[in-house]
C-alpha cells in the first residue's frame, strides 16, 4: 500500500528494531513533553531555578541551536548568492536543520517565561533598548524565512506535487528562493547592527562568529553524523541488495571525484557503504 513512498531497494527493518528506535526517541520526547507540561501547569518552580540563578542550562542549549541554525542562512548565501554548487546537496538539510533549530529555540523561550500567555507582549510592548526584544524579533524573522524556504521541500512530496496549485507554487518558489536566502542572510548578518551599541557588540560577536563562521561546518557535520548513524542501518538494505549495481556506480563516481568533479552527498553515503 505504501510501497510508492519507500525508495527503491530499501526494505523495512524488523519490527523489534523499529520499536527500539522509536521507543528510545519517544522516551526522550515524552520526558521533554512531561517537563513542558509540568512547567506550564505548575510553573517555573518545578525547575529548581531561584532568584539567584534565574536562568537554567537550557539557555545554553538555546544559544547553541541558534548558532547551529544560522548555518542555514550562510549555506543558502553561499549556494544561491555566491553560487557554490558544491553545497547543492546539503542546502535542503541545512534549511531543515535551521528550521528545527529556530523552532526549538522559540519553543524553549516559550516555556522559559513565567507567564507564557503574555509572550506576545514582547512584540506588542517592545522595548527597543532590550537585547531580548532584538533576539525575539530576529528569531521570529529567521523562523518565518526558513518556513518559507522549507515549504517547497514539503510541496515536493509526490502526492502533493500532483495538485496543480502546489506543483506551480513549489516550482515557482524555487525560482525566487535566492531572494529568501538573501533575506535570511541579510537579516542574520545585519540585524544586530540596527540597535547595536555598547555591550551588544560582544554579544553580537559571540553569536555572529559561531553562527556564521561555524554554522555551515556544523551543518555539514550534522548531516555527516546522521549519515554515519544511518550507514549501519541502511547497509544491508541499500548495499547488499544492490551490490553489483552500486559497486559499479561507486567506481564511476570515484572516477568523477578523482577527475575533479563535484562531490555529492550520495557519494559520501556510498563511500560509507563500501567495505573498508
Amino acid at each position: 500500500m505504501d510501497s510508492a513512498l519507500i525508495p527503491k531497494g530499501v526494505k523495512r527493518c524488523p519490527i523489534w528494531q523499529f520499536a527500539l528506535w522509536i521507543g528510545a526517541n519517544g522516551a526522550v520526547l515524552a520526558w521533554g513533553g512531561f517537563a513542558m507540561l509540568l512547567v506550564y501547569i505548575k510553573g517555573l518552580n518545578q525547575t529548581n531555578m531561584n532568584n539567584a540563578y534565574g536562568f537554567a542550562l537550557w539557555i545554553w542549549a538555546d544559544l547553541a541551536v541558534i548558532a547551529l541554525g544560522g548555518g542555514a542562512f550562510f549555506t543558502g548565501f553561499l549556494r544561491y548568492i555566491v553560487g557554490k554548487d558544491e553545497l547543492k546537496s546539503i542546502i535542503n538539510y541545512a534549511v531543515l536543520i535551521g528550521f528545527i533549530c529556530y523552532s526549538s529555540a522559540l519553543m524553549i523561550l516559550g516555556f522559559d517565561i513565567g507567564q507564557p500567555l503574555r509572550g506576545w507582549f514582547i512584540f506588542w510592548h517592545a522595548n527597543v533598548h532590550s537585547m531580548l526584544t532584538e533576539v525575539a524579533f530576529c528569531l521570529t524573522c529567521y523562523f518565518g524565512v526558513l518556513t518559507i524556504e522549507y515549504i517547497p521541500m514539503v510541496l515536493e512530496n509526490r502526492k502533493l506535487d500532483k495538485i496543480p496549485f502546489f506543483h506551480n507554487l513549489s516550482h515557482n518558489m524555487h525560482e525566487i528562493m535566492a531572494v529568501f536566502a538573501a533575506t535570511g542572510v541579510f537579516s542574520v548578518l545585519f540585524s544586530s547592527r540596527i540597535p547595536g551599541r555598547g555591550a551588544r557588540r560582544s554579544v553580537r560577536a559571540a553569536l555572529w562568529l559561531p553562527g556564521r563562521g561555524t554554522g555551515l561546518a556544523l551543518d555539514i557535520f550534522s548531516v555527516h553524523l546522521v549519515r554515519c548513524r544511518l550507514r549501519t542501518v541502511l547497509y544491508h538494505f541499500y548495499y547488499q541488495n544492490n551490490r553489483n549495481h552500486h559497486t559499479q556506480e561507486i567506481g564511476q563516481r570515484q572516477c568523477h571525484r578523482s577527475s575533479g568533479q563535484n562531490i555529492r552527498l550520495d557519494d559520501i553515503f556510498l563511500y560509507y557503504c563500501q567495505d573498508h
Binding site: N50, P116, S130
Partner: protein, 268 residues
Amino acid sequence: MEKKNAKKFGMVIDLDKCTGCGACMVACYAENNIPFREDDTDKMLSISWMHVYRLNNGKPFPDYEECFLPRPCQHCEGHHGHSPCVSVCPATATDYDMATGIVSQIYPRCFGCRYCMAACPYHVRQFNWWDPIWPDGMEQMLNPGVSVRMRGVVEKCSFCIQRYQAAKDQAFLEGRREIEEDEYQTACTQACPAGAITFGDLNNPEHAVHQLALPDPRHEGRSNNPLAFRLLERLGTNPKIYYLSSREWVRRAGDNYLKAEFKTKAHS
C-alpha cells in the same frame, strides 16, 4: 528628558543608627502585600522588597565589628533614565519615571523573562515562583491600594508609590499642586524605630534627604557628604539610595575596592 520641577525621590539610610531590627522589612511586607510561603526559609525563593544584610569587618574579636545594611530597590537613574533593569526589559514592563525618579514595575505586563533580575546588580528584583496563598482571613488585611502579584512575574520595591498617588489625590482635593515632605513617606521610613531612614525629594534643598545626601547633579548625583556612599556606585547605575556611615570599612564595603586602592572620601 527630565521635566521642569521634576522630583527625584530618594532615601538616605544612616547605617550608624540601624540596629538590624527588621521593622522596615515587616512594614514593607504589610504595606505592599508581599507574598510568603508556609515554609519561607529558603531565601533564594522568598520575596522581600526590603532586605537587611549583615556585614562584618572580617576581623577576629576584639576588633570584630558588624553593621546592618537595609537594601530596598536603588531606583537607579543610570544615564538619563537608562537604569539596568529598564533598559533590558523586553516588554517595557518596568519604567523610569522622569517626573518622580521612581523605577516602576507593571505586573500585568511583565511576562516573567527574568532578564531584569539578571541585569540588576543589587538583587532587588525577585520572581514569583508560586501564586500567593494567604492564610485564612488574611485577605481581609491586604492593602487595597496595592495589587497582589500572580505567579510568573517579577516584583520589587516601588517606593510605596501608592502612597504618593494618595498624597497627590489628597493635595488635588485640597486645591494644592504640590505635596509636603511628610505627606509622602515610605512604609519602611515610618516604621524604623531608630529613625535611620530618611525619605524625600533629592531635588528639593528643603528636604532632609537632600541635606543629608548633598547630591551633586553635575556628577550624576554623587554625594558631597564625606560620610555618604552608594552601593556599587562605580558601575554608573546612579542609584538614589544613599548610605551614611562613620566607619571606613563600611563605606568600602559598598563597592568593589581593591586592597591597595585609594581610601574613600572621608579619609582622603
